[in-house]
């Protein structure tokens, strides 16, 4: 029997700690395990007994990379439980701060975490030695995303200004206008990013995914919509648990999502894009077309172009929201607790983030359920790796290993979210 072993003990340039194990026997992939060894932190357990108004601040601490996603999903869930709907300028402000998170997170992932793989660099710092201007522009773009978070949220990591019902303090139009010039630059930089990413070399790999994302009748979805897929799902977010379930397997401290009665599914930029191309602004659609990105993209390595297209969207959307903004009379809507259950599902930069809470009449949390995007994508990542390794079994071991890492980074996995420790190990026998 032909036998080879490839091993990487810590997969880098992702948020968190996990392990990857691929077993190859006689040039056949016999086992793939993407394991997450992030120590469990038990958020769902200690949320019980806390006030419903504390959920946004507490759940933000699940992830330092996408705190807004946590604050938004939990706020929407609590508002639904209490029968309140946040509309008008407060809803727009939520979308705007979320655009900030998209710009920050996508710029970070495209340039600092993912692009080095395509260009053969260990990291963006080494990339900066050869392409200083590219990295400087990337950092400037990332910073503009953070500037939105700081202005509206108070700080970039774990913003303090969002709450159930809206915000503690609404910015003035004048304050927001300060973001306009930087955002115009960011829009141009994003268009350049689409062009730049489209020139990269992509491994030839596609898979027949089930793309799951939100869909909204009037807009590219971030905070609201129905849950849809290209394989027939079209449901209210409150039906999430009727259609999706989580498995708990031995090799992971994160629960893995599957579509009930079917199999793995994909959440994230590619799903949003594929399910909502028609809702992108013309400038983003054009950029995608010029980059040669099809309306339905099935190559996960090309998610880097999709993220760039979403950068264009986020900058364009932020500018639109600022232009239309009128400061609300009150920064929040009063939310009074009542006995009930609420669901929230918003599009984190790396995919749908579902929260469900049961609260009592005093607003004390009785039950909590949080399903982060990386947990949902865990099975899809394993399937990608299986398919990718099978197709590229003759690659030299070091190259195959690097490309497997790259295949995981396609997902921009956030393992803190899903629980974390990424170890890559390919066992060839």
């Amino acid at each position: 029997m032909k036998s080879r072993t490839v091993k990487v003990d810590y997969l880098a340039r992702i948020e968190g700690e996990g392990r990857l194990y691929v077993k190859i026997e006689d040039d056949k992939v016999t086992d793939v395990k993407f394991g997450i060894f992030e120590p469990p932190r038990f958020f769902e357990a200690f949320l019980r007994g806390r006030k419903f108004t504390e959920a946004p601040d507490i759940t933000a601490r699940i992830c330092g990379i996408c705190p807004i996603a946590y604050q938004m999903s939990s706020s929407y869930a609590m508002e639904q439980a209490c029968g309140v709907k946040v509309t008008g300028p407060l809803r727009d402000l939520r979308r705007l701060i979320y655009c900030g998170e998209y710009i920050e997170s996508h710029a970070l992932h495209i340039y600092l975490l993912h692009a080095p793989d395509f260009l053969g660099y260990e990291d963006a710092i080494r990339l900066a030695a050869d392409y200083p201007d590219v990295v400087k522009e990337a950092l400037r773009l990332k910073k503009i995303g953070n500037d939105i978070m700081v202005l509206i949220g108070g700080r970039e990591i774990h913003p303090i200004n969002t709450r159930v019902g809206g915000f503690y303090k609404a910015p003035t139009k004048k304050e927001l206008n300060k973001l306009v010039e930087p955002l115009k630059w960011a829009l141009e930089a994003s268009l350049k990013t689409v062009k730049f990413t489209s020139t990269l070399n992509f491994p030839d790999f596609e898979r027949d995914y089930e793309f799951v994302s939100l869909r909204h009748p009037d807009e590219y979805p971030i905070t609201e919509g129905r849950l849809v897929s290209n394989k027939g799902i079209d449901i209210e977010i409150s039906q999430f648990l009727d259609y999706f379930e989580e498995e708990h397997v031995h090799h992971s401290t994160s629960l893995r999502g599957v579509v009930k009665g079917r199999s793995d599914y994909l959440a994230g930029p590619m799903s949003r894009y594929n399910n909502n191309f028609d809702k992108l602004p013309a400038i983003a659609q054009e950029a995608a077309k010029e980059a040669g990105l099809p309306k339905i993209c099935k190559n996960p390595f090309k998610s880097i172009i999709v993220r760039a297209v979403e950068l264009v969207f986020a900058c364009h959307e932020a500018l639109r929201l600022i232009e239309n903004y009128e400061m609300p009379d009150k920064p929040f809507i009063e939310v009074n607790p009542r006995d009930g259950v609420g669901h929230g599902c918003t599009e984190a930069p790396r995919g749908i983030l579902y929260h469900r809470y049961k609260i009592d009449k005093d607003g004390i949390i009785k039950d909590a359920r949080i399903i982060p995007p990386t947990a949902q994508n865990q099975r899809a990542m394993e399937e990608d790796l299986r398919g990718f390794v099978e197709k590229n079994i003759n690659l030299p071991t070091d190259k195959l290993t690097w490309q497997c890492e790259q295949a995981v980074r396609n997902y921009d996995p956030c393992i803190s979210c899903s629980c974390h420790f990424l170890k890559l190990q390919i066992d060839r026998k």
Partner: protein, 260 residues
């Protein structure tokens, strides 16, 4: 003349959200300058290239929650000249230290279908409970400028200039109206270490203590105010002190006093 070797920096992660180490990448204006003077030798979140130890400085994020991590931190100490704990998880146990007030078995059974697969310690504890720590940067998350100051101080062989007074000092300097006096919002500012720039009161809300207890905090007096003047219920007072620095001793004692 032989060129001076760049000091080697390593970043380590334990139970945490990654936010504090992300603060390093959030130093957009300073990052490239920092990499000119220090070698980022081990920072998996940013690079797949790992240079072996020993390291001149180790930044440690996260709390100790598993038997494996309780061993790993000792190995890291052995290969680090200076070791700095960064963030509320590493300096106080973090929000996951809420398990310390109950039996963690209940938590495991609640979250996981197969609790047998999960290995965890009863308590989530700060790094200093396990090894000698040379410096601590507080915050949930840390202030990224503190990180730059820390690196700067270490490079120049001086003590980092990080305040230990209260958030109230920062808040007054900003000219904020006191949220506790003016709008009756419970605020942990008087007992919390400065460092965030008093952002919560600046946005019309009470401080919830990302930076943990200041030097000699009078938590008893503040809790008395919450109880008598502001009519907060005991469970509310317990929750107020049981945030991201719940297991820091002054906060732990105060919350336990109101739990009875």
């Amino acid at each position: 003349m032989t060129p001076i070797k760049k000091p080697k920096l390593a970043v380590w992660k334990f139970a945490s959200c990654d936010g504090c180490q992300l603060s390093l990448l959030d130093c957009e204006d300073e990052l490239l300058a920092v990499t000119q003077v220090i070698e980022i030798a081990n920072f998996p979140e940013a690079s797949r290239a790992i240079a072996g130890g020993p390291y001149d400085v180790s930044l440690v994020e996260g709390s100790i929650t598993t038997p494996h991590d309780a061993e790993r931190i000792h190995k890291i100490r052995r290969i680090s000249k200076l070791l700095v704990a960064i963030g509320a998880c590493a300096t106080a146990g973090g929000i996951q230290a809420l398990r310390n007030f109950t039996d963690v078995k209940n938590y495991v059974n609640y979250v996981y279908a197969n609790p047998g697969f999960i290995e965890t310690l009863k308590k989530s504890t700060p790094i200093s409970d396990h090894i000698t720590v040379d410096f601590e940067l507080r915050g949930c998350p840390i202030n990224k400028y503190h990180l730059v100051e820390l690196v700067n101080a270490l490079l120049n062989g001086r003590k980092p200039n990080i305040p230990t007074y209260s958030v109230c000092m920062e808040c007054k300097r900003k000219g904020n109206v006191c949220v506790m006096v003016a709008s009756g919002s419970p605020c942990l500012g008087p007992v919390t270490q400065a460092g965030c720039g008093a952002i919560c009161p600046s946005y019309n809300r009470g401080c919830y203590s990302c930076f943990g207890p200041k030097e000699t905090p009078n938590t008893g007096s503040l809790a008395g105010w919450f109880s008598e003047q502001m009519k907060l219920s005991n469970p509310d007072i317990v929750r107020t002190f049981r945030g991201f620095n719940a297991f820091a001793e002054p906060f732990r004692k105060e919350s336990e006093a109101y739990e009875k």
